[in-house]
Amino acid sequence: MRSHFTIIAALAILATLAPAPAAAQEAGDLETVLPDTIPLDTTPPAPVTGLTVRDYVDNDDDGTKIELAWTPSPDDGAGAADVLAYHVWRSTTAGVVGDSVGVAGAGSATFLDETAVPGTDYHYGVTAFDGTSHSAPATAGPVRGVRNWFAVSRTAVLVLAVVFFALVLAFTQLAERGAELFVRRIPGLNAIEEAVGRATEMGRPVLYVPGIGEIDNIMTIASLTILSHVAKITARYETPLIVPTARAVVMSAAEEVVKEAYAEAGHPDSYNRDNIRYLSDAQFAFAGAVNGIMLREKPAANLYLGAFWAESLLLAETGFEAGAIQVAGTAMVSQLPFFVTACDYTLLGEELYAASAYLSREPKLLGGLKGSDWMKVVTIALVVLGIILNAVGVESFAEWFHTS
């Protein structure tokens, strides 16, 4: 890249140094296509004025960026109106033009040199160029790039991250100390209870699919919390609960959860280990096997809660066709449309996490949920404030959020 500019610079210098006849000859070629009213331009444009240089303190650089600003040449867009570009030169010695570090188009008044060696003193020169000749250089310096310890341009990111984390941690602390944190009831939870109730009435089992995510997937973890809740209801009603899984580890976790829930509900002997099944790790094989369960064992309620991918469609369609009440919930946004259309009720995205926090009252879940909620309030406030300030004509607020 730098070699590219060196070539431009070399050509530019050659053009200025070239004897007039050669230039005239070139112009002569032009005259064959252009009317001769355009005179040969041998006058260099007026130089730029007011050149200032400074270390690029506003940015995330390691002392490699130097910022230049100047007042454009009087011949730029006005006067002779022949300025094509500004050339920027850099040297370590005062009074020497040095190497070209770049070109800025006509009309520009700033340049950012991103190739400085940190801690080196530089002298800069800027010349206006009209295609044949350079103006006298405006010079400034010395200036040196300082290695920064803080990326000022990212202040907004840091501030918002700190605010958000403070909220999350504060609410987690509050919940741990036993404070009652309000979480609204998720309508989907009522739907789940209704579905289980209807399965009991019909004397048919309940099917609970915890998704095909691994055990470390947050959706799977949330799903296991809800499974515990569902298992307590089925234990009370003495309705069989079938839990097919796609991961061996999820199966053993589900076993634990269901067993414990049955014990807690006072029906430890109703727990049937054979109903918690590992089917297959392969996506389509798993979906096929679950569909088999739906058609053979005819569960009256199908609950799909957890991480789902393309198999969502296969499950929900077969379940609908089999006439079961279906409740789904996932944070996989791309699968939500299929659940929404084919199921009776769907927990959308974060509602899945909220449901598990609501049921478990676990401080770490509540803290995250409340923190995120208040951060959404902050976001809404910032959007509204941004719109109002924009309407009033205040730019600095929006500018502060312009991060790099």
């Binding site: 990212r154 907004a156 990111v157 840091l158 918002l160 991250a161 958000f164 944190l181 309000f182 979480v183 609204r184 998720i186 392969a282 389509f284 094989a285 096929g288 088999g292 946004v333 791309s334 939500l336 449309p337 299929f338 929404v340 259309t341 959308l348 995205g349 974060e350 509602e351 909220a354 926090a357 609501y358 949920l369 409340k370 909620d373 208040w374 959404k376 309030v377 976001t379 809404i380 910032l382 959007v383 509204v384 941004g386 719109i387 924009n390 309407a391 929006a398 959020f401 312009h402 991060t403």
Partner: protein, 279 residues
């Protein structure tokens, strides 16, 4: 000949998978298990020769890093060896007695990735989105003015008709009164629009941008869990769900193309394969 043979292998496997549409069967299971094995083998070879060899074994054993010689025991050498050793520690999980050692590299890995994500996510998903979401409500050109107006008009029309004809909440029994009320509602709506335009100073209110802002606030409100959805919050959340559903509808409609593209790709392959026998 080789081409035909290879294509035939691919075609037979394709048909094995499609046999699943009729019902689950051993041919499908064969293809399914074969691809599990083949892909695992493929990944293993790619990981080994693309990463492990140039980044770990070459520098450690042959002292060659990207074509340049490195010094045994030098910084570059250690920087290749250390993560390699840590990586090997992950395999202690297959030996239950020392399985806990595997948590050391896992801690570095999990923590490192968790930290890396925080700020870019804040920047890309929150700050830049709220910056773009705070669109000026007036004085900007609106390429969607027509569509937005039609949609808002439809919504108002449906709402008014629903109230008048289905709910009969306004008690207006005869057609003349109904028409009168609809006309009045339209007038009030138009008056409000003109007033808003005048108030905004810069001219016409950009209704599309208003819609964008209301939709964003509504969607965010829908996902509030610590507040009851009543009053203004209730209305906003209700608007939010409408936007969410249209958004999901868009995903749905778009997704259909994805699924069919894959089928077209396979059918094209099968047709080409059949064509080979005739050429």
């Amino acid at each position: 000949m080789t081409t035909l043979l290879l294509a035939t292998v691919g075609a037979i496997l394709t048909l094995c998978v499609y046999s699943f549409l009729y019902k689950d069967n051993p041919f499908y299971k064969f293809a399914e298990h074969l691809v599990v094995g083949v892909s695992a083998g493929y990944y293993l070879v790619i990981y080994t020769f693309n990463f492990i060899v140039p980044n770990v074994t070459d520098p450690v054993f042959t002292l060659n890093l990207g074509g340049e010689a490195i010094r045994l025991g030098g910084l570059d050498w250690w920087m290749a060896l250390a993560p390699g050793l840590l990586g090997l520690l992950l395999y202690t999980r297959f030996f239950p007695k020392i399985a806990w050692i595997g948590r050391w590299p896992l801690g570095i890995y999990v923590g490192g990735y968790a930290g890396l994500g925080i700020s870019p996510v804040m920047q890309a998903r929150v700050i830049n989105q709220l910056r773009a979401g705070a669109t000026p409500l007036a004085g900007t050109p609106d390429p969607f003015a027509n569509m937005t107006n039609v949609c808002l008009g439809l919504v108002i029309f449906i709402a008014v008709t629903y109230l008048l004809l289905v709910k009969r909440q306004l008690g207006a029994r005869n057609t003349g009164a109904k028409v009168g009320i609809v006309a009045l509602a339209a007038l009030v709506g138009y008056g409000g629009y003109v007033a808003l335009s005048a108030l905004s100073g810069a001219g016409v209110v950009n209704l599309t941008n208003v819609m964008l802002v209301v939709g964003l606030l509504g969607t965010l409100t829908y996902f509030f869990f610590s507040m009851r959805h009543t009053g203004v919050l209730g209305v906003l959340a209700r608007i939010g769900i409408v936007f969410l559903m249209v958004g999901f509808g868009a995903s749905f409609g778009y997704t259909v193309m994805s699924r069919i593209s894959l089928l077209i790709g396979r059918v094209g392959f099968l047709i080409d394969w059949v064509g080979m026998f005739f050429s």
